[in-house]
Protein backbone atom coordinates (compact mmCIF):
# COMPACT_ATOMS: atom_id res chain seq x y z
CA UNK A 1 0.00 0.00 0.00
CA UNK A 2 2.81 2.36 0.94
CA UNK A 3 4.54 1.70 -2.39
CA UNK A 4 1.46 2.64 -4.39
CA UNK A 5 0.84 5.65 -2.18
CA UNK A 6 4.39 6.89 -2.68
CA UNK A 7 4.31 6.41 -6.43
CA UNK A 8 0.95 8.08 -6.96
CA UNK A 9 1.67 10.94 -4.60
CA UNK A 10 5.00 11.72 -6.24
CA UNK A 11 3.50 11.34 -9.69
CA UNK A 12 1.18 14.27 -8.93
CA UNK A 13 4.31 16.39 -8.93
CA UNK A 14 5.88 14.78 -12.00
CA UNK A 15 2.97 16.05 -14.06
CA UNK A 16 1.14 19.39 -13.94
CA UNK A 17 -1.83 17.83 -12.08
CA UNK A 18 -0.54 18.38 -8.55
CA UNK A 19 0.59 21.91 -9.26
CA UNK A 20 -2.63 22.85 -11.05
CA UNK A 21 -4.75 21.54 -8.17
CA UNK A 22 -2.66 23.30 -5.54
CA UNK A 23 -2.55 26.54 -7.52
CA UNK A 24 -6.29 26.46 -8.06
CA UNK A 25 -7.02 25.81 -4.40
CA UNK A 26 -4.54 28.48 -3.26
CA UNK A 27 -6.08 31.01 -5.59
CA UNK A 28 -9.65 30.28 -4.51
CA UNK A 29 -8.94 30.15 -0.78
CA UNK A 30 -6.67 33.18 -1.00
CA UNK A 31 -9.28 35.14 -2.89
CA UNK A 32 -11.99 34.37 -0.33
CA UNK A 33 -9.68 35.13 2.58
CA UNK A 34 -8.38 38.44 1.19
CA UNK A 35 -11.91 39.52 0.36
CA UNK A 36 -12.98 38.93 3.94
CA UNK A 37 -9.75 40.30 5.34
CA UNK A 38 -10.05 43.64 3.59
CA UNK A 39 -13.61 44.09 4.84
CA UNK A 40 -12.37 43.37 8.33
CA UNK A 41 -14.55 40.35 9.08
CA UNK A 42 -12.68 37.10 8.65
CA UNK A 43 -14.68 33.95 9.24
CA UNK A 44 -12.61 30.82 8.73
CA UNK A 45 -15.66 28.57 9.05
CA UNK A 46 -17.46 30.27 6.19
CA UNK A 47 -14.26 30.31 4.11
CA UNK A 48 -13.90 26.55 4.51
CA UNK A 49 -17.57 26.07 3.70
CA UNK A 50 -17.26 28.16 0.53
CA UNK A 51 -14.26 26.07 -0.49
CA UNK A 52 -16.43 22.95 -0.37
CA UNK A 53 -18.21 24.08 -3.51
CA UNK A 54 -14.97 23.54 -5.46
CA UNK A 55 -14.83 19.81 -4.69
CA UNK A 56 -16.75 19.40 -7.89
CA UNK A 57 -13.83 20.79 -9.90
CA UNK A 58 -10.76 19.75 -7.92
CA UNK A 59 -11.64 16.16 -7.04
CA UNK A 60 -12.14 15.07 -10.69
CA UNK A 61 -8.81 16.68 -11.61
CA UNK A 62 -6.86 14.74 -9.02
CA UNK A 63 -8.65 11.40 -9.27
CA UNK A 64 -9.39 11.02 -12.97
CA UNK A 65 -6.05 9.47 -13.84
CA UNK A 66 -5.58 7.21 -10.85
CA UNK A 67 -6.88 4.02 -12.46
CA UNK A 68 -7.84 5.19 -15.95
CA UNK A 69 -4.24 5.99 -16.82
CA UNK A 70 -3.04 2.60 -15.56
CA UNK A 71 -5.53 0.85 -17.78
CA UNK A 72 -4.61 2.89 -20.80
CA UNK A 73 -0.86 2.44 -20.38
CA UNK A 74 -1.12 -1.24 -19.47
CA UNK A 75 0.58 -0.68 -16.12
CA UNK A 76 -2.40 -2.11 -14.23
CA UNK A 77 -1.02 -5.54 -15.14
CA UNK A 78 1.63 -4.95 -12.45
CA UNK A 79 -1.03 -4.94 -9.77
CA UNK A 80 -2.49 -8.20 -10.98
CA UNK A 81 0.73 -10.13 -11.54
CA UNK A 82 2.69 -9.18 -8.43
CA UNK A 83 1.88 -10.48 -4.95
CA UNK A 84 0.39 -7.12 -3.88
CA UNK A 85 -3.24 -7.13 -2.74
CA UNK A 86 -5.66 -5.21 -4.99
CA UNK A 87 -7.36 -3.52 -2.04
CA UNK A 88 -3.97 -2.19 -0.93
CA UNK A 89 -3.63 -0.66 -4.39
CA UNK A 90 -7.01 1.06 -4.05
CA UNK A 91 -6.14 2.35 -0.58
CA UNK A 92 -2.71 3.55 -1.72
CA UNK A 93 -4.23 5.59 -4.52
CA UNK A 94 -6.95 6.92 -2.25
CA UNK A 95 -4.44 8.05 0.35
CA UNK A 96 -2.30 9.73 -2.31
CA UNK A 97 -5.23 11.87 -3.46
CA UNK A 98 -6.21 12.54 0.14
CA UNK A 99 -2.67 13.62 1.00
CA UNK A 100 -2.68 16.02 -1.93
CA UNK A 101 -5.84 17.53 -0.48
CA UNK A 102 -4.04 17.86 2.83
CA UNK A 103 -1.22 19.78 1.18
CA UNK A 104 -3.67 22.10 -0.55
CA UNK A 105 -5.36 22.73 2.75
CA UNK A 106 -2.17 24.15 4.27
CA UNK A 107 -3.39 27.45 2.75
CA UNK A 108 -6.30 27.53 5.15
CA UNK A 109 -4.06 26.82 8.12
CA UNK A 110 -1.92 29.76 7.06
CA UNK A 111 -5.03 31.89 6.94
CA UNK A 112 -5.85 30.76 10.46
CA UNK A 113 -2.42 31.79 11.68
CA UNK A 114 -2.72 35.18 9.96
CA UNK A 115 -6.13 35.69 11.51
CA UNK A 116 -4.80 34.84 14.96
CA UNK A 117 -1.81 37.10 14.45
CA UNK A 118 -4.14 39.99 13.64
CA UNK A 119 -6.09 39.37 16.83
CA UNK A 120 -8.90 37.69 14.95
CA UNK A 121 -10.92 34.77 16.23
CA UNK A 122 -10.48 31.16 15.17
CA UNK A 123 -13.28 29.53 17.11
CA UNK A 124 -14.38 25.95 17.59
CA UNK A 125 -16.75 26.37 14.63
CA UNK A 126 -13.76 26.92 12.32
CA UNK A 127 -12.20 23.66 13.51
CA UNK A 128 -15.57 21.96 13.09
CA UNK A 129 -15.71 23.04 9.45
CA UNK A 130 -12.16 21.83 8.92
CA UNK A 131 -13.02 18.38 10.27
CA UNK A 132 -16.11 18.20 8.07
CA UNK A 133 -14.08 19.35 5.08
CA UNK A 134 -11.70 16.41 5.38
CA UNK A 135 -14.44 13.85 5.85
CA UNK A 136 -16.26 15.19 2.81
CA UNK A 137 -12.98 15.18 0.88
CA UNK A 138 -12.54 11.49 1.73
CA UNK A 139 -16.08 10.76 0.55
CA UNK A 140 -15.71 12.61 -2.75
CA UNK A 141 -12.25 11.25 -3.49
CA UNK A 142 -13.60 7.73 -3.09
CA UNK A 143 -16.28 8.61 -5.64
CA UNK A 144 -13.58 9.95 -7.97
CA UNK A 145 -11.58 6.74 -7.59
CA UNK A 146 -14.61 4.65 -8.41
CA UNK A 147 -15.19 6.81 -11.49
CA UNK A 148 -11.58 6.30 -12.52
CA UNK A 149 -11.81 2.52 -12.19
CA UNK A 150 -14.79 2.09 -14.48
CA UNK A 151 -13.18 3.50 -17.62
CA UNK A 152 -9.83 3.86 -19.33
CA UNK A 153 -10.58 7.40 -20.42
CA UNK A 154 -9.62 10.18 -18.05
CA UNK A 155 -12.20 12.52 -19.58
CA UNK A 156 -15.10 10.14 -19.05
CA UNK A 157 -13.90 9.43 -15.54
CA UNK A 158 -13.70 13.17 -14.78
CA UNK A 159 -17.17 13.84 -16.19
CA UNK A 160 -18.69 10.96 -14.25
CA UNK A 161 -17.08 12.14 -11.02
CA UNK A 162 -18.14 15.74 -11.72
CA UNK A 163 -21.77 14.73 -12.19
CA UNK A 164 -21.81 12.53 -9.08
CA UNK A 165 -20.43 15.28 -6.88
CA UNK A 166 -22.69 17.89 -8.46
CA UNK A 167 -25.74 15.75 -7.74
CA UNK A 168 -24.67 15.32 -4.12
CA UNK A 169 -24.09 19.05 -3.74
CA UNK A 170 -27.53 19.79 -5.17
CA UNK A 171 -29.21 17.00 -3.23
CA UNK A 172 -31.32 19.29 -1.03
CA UNK A 173 -32.62 21.18 -4.09
CA UNK A 174 -33.24 17.99 -6.02
CA UNK A 175 -35.06 16.36 -3.10
CA UNK A 176 -37.63 19.15 -2.69
CA UNK A 177 -38.13 19.24 -6.43
CA UNK A 178 -38.79 15.51 -6.68
CA UNK A 179 -40.78 15.39 -3.42
CA UNK A 180 -43.10 18.28 -4.29
CA UNK A 181 -43.59 17.03 -7.87
CA UNK A 182 -44.63 13.57 -6.69
CA UNK A 183 -46.84 15.13 -4.00
CA UNK A 184 -48.56 17.33 -6.56
CA UNK A 185 -48.95 14.42 -8.94
CA UNK A 186 -50.61 12.32 -6.25
CA UNK A 187 -53.08 15.07 -5.40
CA UNK A 188 -53.96 15.38 -9.09
CA UNK A 189 -54.74 11.67 -9.04
CA UNK A 190 -57.28 12.37 -6.29
CA UNK A 191 -55.25 11.25 -3.30
CA UNK A 192 -56.17 13.10 -0.12
CA UNK A 193 -54.15 16.24 0.42
CA UNK A 194 -52.78 15.00 3.76
CA UNK A 195 -51.57 11.74 2.28
CA UNK A 196 -50.00 13.26 -0.82
CA UNK A 197 -48.26 15.88 1.31
CA UNK A 198 -47.00 13.19 3.63
CA UNK A 199 -45.66 11.11 0.74
CA UNK A 200 -43.93 14.15 -0.76
CA UNK A 201 -42.47 14.95 2.65
CA UNK A 202 -41.25 11.39 3.12
CA UNK A 203 -39.51 11.43 -0.23
CA UNK A 204 -37.85 14.74 0.54
CA UNK A 205 -36.67 13.42 3.90
CA UNK A 206 -35.52 10.18 2.33
CA UNK A 207 -33.36 11.89 -0.24
CA UNK A 208 -32.14 14.47 2.27
CA UNK A 209 -30.96 11.66 4.47
CA UNK A 210 -28.33 10.97 1.84
CA UNK A 211 -27.09 14.57 1.88
CA UNK A 212 -23.76 14.77 3.71
CA UNK A 213 -23.89 18.57 3.73
CA UNK A 214 -27.05 18.98 5.82
CA UNK A 215 -25.92 16.09 8.03
CA UNK A 216 -22.76 17.93 8.95
CA UNK A 217 -24.24 21.44 9.01
CA UNK A 218 -24.04 21.84 12.80
CA UNK A 219 -20.28 21.41 12.94
CA UNK A 220 -19.74 25.03 11.92
CA UNK A 221 -21.49 26.12 15.09
CA UNK A 222 -19.25 23.94 17.17
CA UNK A 223 -21.85 21.21 17.61
CA UNK A 224 -19.98 17.98 16.97
CA UNK A 225 -21.48 14.55 16.58
CA UNK A 226 -20.02 11.25 15.47
CA UNK A 227 -22.88 9.97 13.33
CA UNK A 228 -22.36 12.27 10.31
CA UNK A 229 -18.65 11.44 10.26
CA UNK A 230 -19.38 7.73 10.36
CA UNK A 231 -21.86 8.35 7.56
CA UNK A 232 -19.14 9.90 5.37
CA UNK A 233 -16.59 7.23 6.18
CA UNK A 234 -19.02 4.38 5.59
CA UNK A 235 -19.91 5.70 2.18
CA UNK A 236 -16.23 6.25 1.35
CA UNK A 237 -15.52 2.64 2.32
CA UNK A 238 -18.45 1.45 0.22
CA UNK A 239 -17.12 3.29 -2.84
CA UNK A 240 -13.57 2.06 -2.30
CA UNK A 241 -14.82 -1.48 -1.87
CA UNK A 242 -16.85 -1.17 -5.08
CA UNK A 243 -13.68 -0.01 -6.82
CA UNK A 244 -11.86 -3.04 -5.49
CA UNK A 245 -14.64 -5.33 -6.71
CA UNK A 246 -14.58 -3.73 -10.17
CA UNK A 247 -10.83 -4.31 -10.44
CA UNK A 248 -11.20 -7.84 -9.17
CA UNK A 249 -14.05 -8.54 -11.57
CA UNK A 250 -11.92 -7.51 -14.53
CA UNK A 251 -9.93 -10.67 -14.06
CA UNK A 252 -13.08 -12.75 -14.39
CA UNK A 253 -14.63 -10.80 -17.21
CA UNK A 254 -15.54 -12.67 -20.34
CA UNK A 255 -15.98 -9.87 -22.74
Amino acid sequence: MLAVFKREFLSYFRSPVGYVAIALFSFLSGYIFINNFTTGSVNIASEVISLRSFFVVIVPIITMGLFAEDKKRGTEILYYTTPIDLFAVVMGKFLAAFALYGIMFVNVFIHMIVTKACNGIVDIGAWGSVIVFFFLAALFISIGILASAITDSQIISAIFCFIMILVIQLLSTISSLIGSTIGAFLSVLGVKAETSNAVGEAIINGINWLDPFTKTADFRYGVFSVAPLIFCISFAIVFLFLTFRILEKKRWSNG
Binding site: A3, R7, S11, T82, P83, R251, N254, G255
Partner: protein, 311 residues
Amino acid sequence: MIEINNLVKHYGDKKAVNGISFTVQDDEVLGFLGPNGAGKSTTMNIITGYLSSTSGTVKVNGHDILEEPELAKKDIGYLPELPPLYLDMTVLEYLNFICDLKQVKKSERKEQLAKIIAMVKIVDVADRLIGNLSKGYKQRVGIAQALVGNPSILILDEPTVGLDPNQIIEIRKLIRTLAKDHSVIISSHILSEIQAVCDRVVIINKGKVAAIDTITDLSKRLSGTSKLLLSFKGDAKACVNAVRAVPGVSDCKIRISDNDIHEAEVTVSGSSATDIRTSIFFTMSKNNWPIMEFRSLDPTLEEIFLSITGA
Protein backbone atom coordinates in the same frame (compact mmCIF):
# COMPACT_ATOMS: atom_id res chain seq x y z
CA MET B 1 8.03 -25.83 -13.16
CA ILE B 2 4.67 -24.87 -14.60
CA GLU B 3 1.87 -27.35 -15.11
CA ILE B 4 -0.98 -26.19 -17.28
CA ASN B 5 -3.96 -28.43 -17.34
CA ASN B 6 -6.88 -28.19 -19.74
CA LEU B 7 -7.08 -24.40 -19.78
CA VAL B 8 -10.26 -22.89 -21.22
CA LYS B 9 -11.11 -19.20 -21.53
CA HIS B 10 -14.32 -17.86 -23.02
CA TYR B 11 -14.75 -14.30 -24.22
CA GLY B 12 -18.50 -14.20 -24.58
CA ASP B 13 -19.27 -16.82 -27.19
CA LYS B 14 -15.73 -16.96 -28.45
CA LYS B 15 -13.36 -19.54 -27.06
CA ALA B 16 -10.00 -17.77 -26.98
CA VAL B 17 -8.33 -20.73 -25.32
CA ASN B 18 -9.84 -24.14 -25.70
CA GLY B 19 -8.30 -26.90 -23.61
CA ILE B 20 -4.58 -26.15 -23.57
CA SER B 21 -2.33 -28.43 -21.52
CA PHE B 22 1.44 -28.52 -21.33
CA THR B 23 4.27 -28.56 -18.80
CA VAL B 24 7.36 -26.43 -18.58
CA GLN B 25 10.34 -28.08 -16.86
CA ASP B 26 12.90 -26.28 -14.73
CA ASP B 27 15.55 -24.37 -16.70
CA GLU B 28 13.85 -25.03 -19.99
CA VAL B 29 13.14 -22.47 -22.69
CA LEU B 30 9.75 -23.12 -24.15
CA GLY B 31 8.63 -21.39 -27.29
CA PHE B 32 5.01 -20.53 -27.60
CA LEU B 33 4.23 -20.22 -31.25
CA GLY B 34 1.07 -19.32 -33.04
CA PRO B 35 -0.43 -16.84 -35.48
CA ASN B 36 -1.90 -13.57 -34.26
CA GLY B 37 -5.08 -14.19 -32.33
CA ALA B 38 -4.28 -17.84 -31.62
CA GLY B 39 -4.59 -17.32 -27.87
CA LYS B 40 -0.93 -16.84 -26.94
CA SER B 41 -1.37 -13.67 -24.92
CA THR B 42 -4.55 -14.90 -23.28
CA THR B 43 -2.79 -18.08 -22.14
CA MET B 44 0.14 -16.08 -20.79
CA ASN B 45 -2.20 -13.70 -19.01
CA ILE B 46 -3.87 -16.65 -17.34
CA ILE B 47 -0.57 -18.24 -16.30
CA THR B 48 0.53 -14.98 -14.67
CA GLY B 49 -2.77 -14.47 -12.87
CA TYR B 50 -3.81 -11.37 -14.78
CA LEU B 51 -6.88 -13.13 -16.12
CA SER B 52 -8.71 -16.07 -14.69
CA SER B 53 -9.49 -19.12 -16.73
CA THR B 54 -13.05 -20.23 -17.36
CA SER B 55 -11.87 -23.70 -16.38
CA GLY B 56 -8.62 -25.59 -16.01
CA THR B 57 -5.70 -25.12 -13.64
CA VAL B 58 -2.27 -23.53 -13.66
CA LYS B 59 0.27 -24.67 -11.10
CA VAL B 60 3.47 -22.71 -10.62
CA ASN B 61 6.07 -24.73 -8.71
CA GLY B 62 3.17 -26.63 -7.18
CA HIS B 63 1.13 -23.55 -6.23
CA ASP B 64 -2.21 -23.01 -7.91
CA ILE B 65 -2.37 -19.49 -9.37
CA LEU B 66 -5.92 -18.95 -8.13
CA GLU B 67 -5.73 -20.72 -4.79
CA GLU B 68 -2.30 -19.53 -3.66
CA PRO B 69 -1.82 -16.47 -5.86
CA GLU B 70 0.80 -14.81 -3.68
CA LEU B 71 3.13 -17.80 -3.62
CA ALA B 72 2.62 -18.51 -7.31
CA LYS B 73 3.14 -14.91 -8.41
CA LYS B 74 6.37 -14.63 -6.44
CA ASP B 75 7.95 -17.19 -8.75
CA ILE B 76 6.91 -15.49 -11.99
CA GLY B 77 8.43 -12.56 -13.82
CA TYR B 78 6.20 -11.33 -16.60
CA LEU B 79 6.88 -9.10 -19.56
CA PRO B 80 3.53 -8.47 -21.24
CA GLU B 81 3.14 -7.52 -24.88
CA LEU B 82 3.04 -3.86 -23.85
CA PRO B 83 5.73 -3.37 -21.18
CA PRO B 84 4.01 -1.99 -18.06
CA LEU B 85 6.18 1.10 -17.68
CA TYR B 86 5.45 4.34 -15.87
CA LEU B 87 6.77 6.90 -18.31
CA ASP B 88 6.98 9.64 -15.68
CA MET B 89 9.51 7.77 -13.53
CA THR B 90 13.22 7.28 -13.99
CA VAL B 91 14.44 3.73 -14.58
CA LEU B 92 15.80 3.45 -11.07
CA GLU B 93 12.69 4.88 -9.42
CA TYR B 94 10.57 2.49 -11.44
CA LEU B 95 12.62 -0.58 -10.55
CA ASN B 96 12.54 0.40 -6.88
CA PHE B 97 8.77 0.66 -7.13
CA ILE B 98 8.66 -2.83 -8.63
CA CYS B 99 10.82 -4.04 -5.72
CA ASP B 100 8.18 -2.61 -3.39
CA LEU B 101 5.38 -4.39 -5.26
CA LYS B 102 7.26 -7.68 -5.28
CA GLN B 103 8.22 -7.25 -1.64
CA VAL B 104 11.96 -7.52 -2.17
CA LYS B 105 13.76 -7.14 1.14
CA LYS B 106 15.36 -3.71 1.62
CA SER B 107 18.72 -5.31 2.39
CA GLU B 108 18.87 -7.28 -0.86
CA ARG B 109 17.46 -4.57 -3.03
CA LYS B 110 20.54 -2.57 -3.93
CA GLU B 111 22.61 -5.58 -4.87
CA GLN B 112 19.81 -7.21 -6.85
CA LEU B 113 19.02 -4.06 -8.83
CA ALA B 114 22.69 -3.47 -9.63
CA LYS B 115 22.93 -7.03 -10.96
CA ILE B 116 19.79 -6.73 -13.08
CA ILE B 117 20.71 -3.31 -14.47
CA ALA B 118 24.11 -4.61 -15.50
CA MET B 119 22.64 -7.77 -17.00
CA VAL B 120 20.11 -6.04 -19.26
CA LYS B 121 22.61 -3.25 -20.00
CA ILE B 122 20.67 -0.20 -18.89
CA VAL B 123 23.41 1.22 -16.66
CA ASP B 124 23.76 4.33 -18.83
CA VAL B 125 20.08 5.19 -18.71
CA ALA B 126 19.36 4.30 -15.07
CA ASP B 127 18.72 7.92 -14.13
CA ARG B 128 16.73 8.91 -17.20
CA LEU B 129 12.98 9.19 -17.50
CA ILE B 130 11.49 6.05 -19.03
CA GLY B 131 9.34 8.20 -21.32
CA ASN B 132 12.48 9.54 -22.98
CA LEU B 133 14.01 6.15 -23.75
CA SER B 134 14.06 4.44 -27.14
CA LYS B 135 11.88 1.43 -27.75
CA GLY B 136 14.76 -1.01 -27.34
CA TYR B 137 15.69 0.43 -23.96
CA LYS B 138 12.06 0.44 -22.86
CA GLN B 139 11.88 -3.25 -23.72
CA ARG B 140 14.99 -3.88 -21.63
CA VAL B 141 13.52 -2.00 -18.70
CA GLY B 142 10.48 -4.24 -19.18
CA ILE B 143 12.71 -7.32 -18.94
CA ALA B 144 14.49 -5.83 -15.92
CA GLN B 145 11.11 -5.40 -14.29
CA ALA B 146 10.35 -9.08 -14.87
CA LEU B 147 13.68 -10.07 -13.29
CA VAL B 148 13.09 -8.17 -10.06
CA GLY B 149 12.48 -10.47 -7.12
CA ASN B 150 14.53 -13.32 -8.61
CA PRO B 151 11.62 -15.32 -10.01
CA SER B 152 12.48 -18.83 -11.19
CA ILE B 153 10.12 -18.51 -14.15
CA LEU B 154 10.12 -15.83 -16.82
CA ILE B 155 7.23 -15.29 -19.17
CA LEU B 156 7.99 -13.05 -22.12
CA ASP B 157 5.24 -12.10 -24.52
CA GLU B 158 6.71 -11.25 -27.92
CA PRO B 159 9.86 -9.73 -26.42
CA THR B 160 11.38 -8.63 -29.73
CA VAL B 161 8.37 -7.11 -31.45
CA GLY B 162 9.06 -3.69 -32.91
CA LEU B 163 12.80 -3.78 -32.31
CA ASP B 164 15.50 -3.24 -34.92
CA PRO B 165 17.65 -6.22 -35.96
CA ASN B 166 20.55 -5.30 -33.69
CA GLN B 167 18.26 -4.99 -30.71
CA ILE B 168 16.62 -8.30 -31.58
CA ILE B 169 20.01 -10.04 -31.52
CA GLU B 170 20.84 -8.39 -28.18
CA ILE B 171 17.56 -9.41 -26.62
CA ARG B 172 17.98 -12.99 -27.86
CA LYS B 173 21.45 -13.12 -26.36
CA LEU B 174 20.02 -11.88 -23.10
CA ILE B 175 17.30 -14.50 -23.16
CA ARG B 176 19.87 -17.22 -23.71
CA THR B 177 21.85 -15.96 -20.71
CA LEU B 178 18.73 -15.92 -18.60
CA ALA B 179 17.78 -19.41 -19.70
CA LYS B 180 20.75 -20.82 -17.78
CA ASP B 181 18.99 -20.47 -14.45
CA HIS B 182 15.37 -19.72 -15.29
CA SER B 183 12.47 -21.52 -16.88
CA VAL B 184 11.44 -19.28 -19.74
CA ILE B 185 8.30 -19.16 -21.83
CA ILE B 186 8.56 -16.99 -24.93
CA SER B 187 5.71 -16.31 -27.27
CA SER B 188 6.16 -15.30 -30.85
CA HIS B 189 4.57 -15.57 -34.22
CA ILE B 190 7.97 -15.79 -35.91
CA LEU B 191 9.37 -19.29 -36.27
CA SER B 192 13.03 -18.30 -36.66
CA GLU B 193 12.88 -16.40 -33.41
CA ILE B 194 11.70 -19.45 -31.52
CA GLN B 195 14.29 -21.63 -33.26
CA ALA B 196 17.02 -19.26 -32.16
CA VAL B 197 16.39 -19.56 -28.43
CA CYS B 198 14.09 -22.42 -27.52
CA ASP B 199 14.53 -26.08 -26.59
CA ARG B 200 10.93 -27.04 -27.10
CA VAL B 201 7.96 -25.52 -28.87
CA VAL B 202 4.28 -25.49 -28.20
CA ILE B 203 2.39 -24.53 -31.31
CA ILE B 204 -1.12 -23.32 -30.80
CA ASN B 205 -3.77 -22.46 -33.31
CA LYS B 206 -7.32 -21.28 -32.72
CA GLY B 207 -6.98 -21.77 -28.97
CA LYS B 208 -5.79 -25.38 -29.20
CA VAL B 209 -2.40 -27.04 -29.00
CA ALA B 210 -1.46 -28.04 -32.53
CA ALA B 211 1.87 -29.60 -31.60
CA ILE B 212 4.36 -29.93 -28.75
CA ASP B 213 7.80 -30.83 -29.97
CA THR B 214 11.50 -30.22 -29.66
CA ILE B 215 13.02 -27.89 -32.22
CA THR B 216 15.00 -30.68 -33.92
CA ASP B 217 11.98 -32.95 -34.23
CA LEU B 218 9.97 -30.09 -35.55
CA SER B 219 12.56 -29.35 -38.23
CA LYS B 220 12.60 -33.02 -39.18
CA ARG B 221 8.85 -33.04 -39.57
CA LEU B 222 9.08 -29.92 -41.64
CA SER B 223 11.94 -31.10 -43.85
CA GLY B 224 9.47 -33.09 -45.92
CA THR B 225 8.29 -29.91 -47.53
CA SER B 226 11.41 -27.80 -47.72
CA LYS B 227 11.56 -25.18 -50.41
CA LEU B 228 14.34 -23.27 -52.12
CA LEU B 229 14.31 -19.90 -53.75
CA LEU B 230 16.31 -19.68 -56.95
CA SER B 231 16.76 -16.47 -58.83
CA PHE B 232 18.59 -16.55 -62.15
CA LYS B 233 19.14 -15.02 -65.57
CA GLY B 234 18.33 -16.87 -68.78
CA ASP B 235 15.52 -18.67 -70.54
CA ALA B 236 12.86 -19.20 -67.87
CA LYS B 237 11.07 -22.12 -69.46
CA ALA B 238 14.15 -24.10 -70.36
CA CYS B 239 15.59 -23.54 -66.91
CA VAL B 240 12.47 -24.66 -65.09
CA ASN B 241 12.44 -27.84 -67.12
CA ALA B 242 16.11 -28.46 -66.47
CA VAL B 243 15.70 -27.99 -62.70
CA ARG B 244 12.67 -30.23 -62.65
CA ALA B 245 14.76 -32.93 -64.22
CA VAL B 246 17.25 -32.83 -61.31
CA PRO B 247 16.73 -35.93 -59.17
CA GLY B 248 15.08 -35.04 -55.83
CA VAL B 249 13.24 -32.00 -57.12
CA SER B 250 9.51 -32.54 -57.10
CA ASP B 251 8.46 -29.21 -58.53
CA CYS B 252 9.77 -25.91 -59.82
CA LYS B 253 7.70 -22.92 -60.75
CA ILE B 254 8.36 -19.29 -61.61
CA ARG B 255 7.18 -16.90 -58.98
CA ILE B 256 8.25 -13.55 -60.39
CA SER B 257 9.83 -12.50 -63.67
CA ASP B 258 11.41 -9.09 -63.62
CA ASN B 259 13.17 -8.01 -66.84
CA ASP B 260 15.68 -10.76 -67.42
CA ILE B 261 15.86 -12.00 -63.83
CA HIS B 262 13.46 -14.78 -62.87
CA GLU B 263 12.63 -16.04 -59.44
CA ALA B 264 11.65 -19.67 -59.10
CA GLU B 265 10.37 -21.68 -56.16
CA VAL B 266 11.86 -25.16 -56.04
CA THR B 267 10.07 -27.80 -54.01
CA VAL B 268 12.33 -30.56 -52.78
CA SER B 269 10.95 -33.97 -52.01
CA GLY B 270 11.88 -35.08 -48.50
CA SER B 271 13.33 -38.45 -49.36
CA SER B 272 16.57 -37.23 -50.91
CA ALA B 273 19.44 -37.64 -48.49
CA THR B 274 21.99 -35.59 -50.43
CA ASP B 275 21.98 -31.82 -50.51
CA ILE B 276 20.01 -30.96 -53.60
CA ARG B 277 21.60 -27.52 -53.93
CA THR B 278 24.83 -28.90 -55.39
CA SER B 279 23.11 -30.61 -58.30
CA ILE B 280 20.95 -27.60 -59.01
CA PHE B 281 24.00 -25.37 -59.04
CA PHE B 282 25.84 -27.59 -61.55
CA THR B 283 22.76 -27.87 -63.75
CA MET B 284 22.55 -24.09 -63.87
CA SER B 285 26.25 -23.57 -64.49
CA LYS B 286 26.37 -26.19 -67.22
CA ASN B 287 23.75 -24.20 -69.14
CA ASN B 288 25.40 -20.83 -68.43
CA TRP B 289 22.43 -19.56 -66.44
CA PRO B 290 23.93 -17.24 -63.83
CA ILE B 291 22.45 -17.70 -60.34
CA MET B 292 21.62 -14.32 -58.77
CA GLU B 293 20.28 -15.65 -55.49
CA PHE B 294 19.89 -19.09 -54.00
CA ARG B 295 18.55 -19.79 -50.53
CA SER B 296 16.15 -21.97 -48.61
CA LEU B 297 12.72 -20.55 -47.91
CA ASP B 298 11.59 -20.58 -44.26
CA PRO B 299 8.27 -22.29 -44.01
CA THR B 300 5.49 -19.89 -43.08
CA LEU B 301 3.36 -20.55 -40.04
CA GLU B 302 0.50 -21.55 -42.29
CA GLU B 303 2.68 -24.21 -43.90
CA ILE B 304 3.76 -25.46 -40.51
CA PHE B 305 0.18 -25.84 -39.43
CA LEU B 306 -0.69 -27.58 -42.65
CA SER B 307 2.19 -30.00 -42.28
CA ILE B 308 1.59 -30.57 -38.57
CA THR B 309 -2.11 -31.09 -38.78
CA GLY B 310 -1.55 -33.20 -41.87
CA ALA B 311 -4.14 -31.34 -43.88
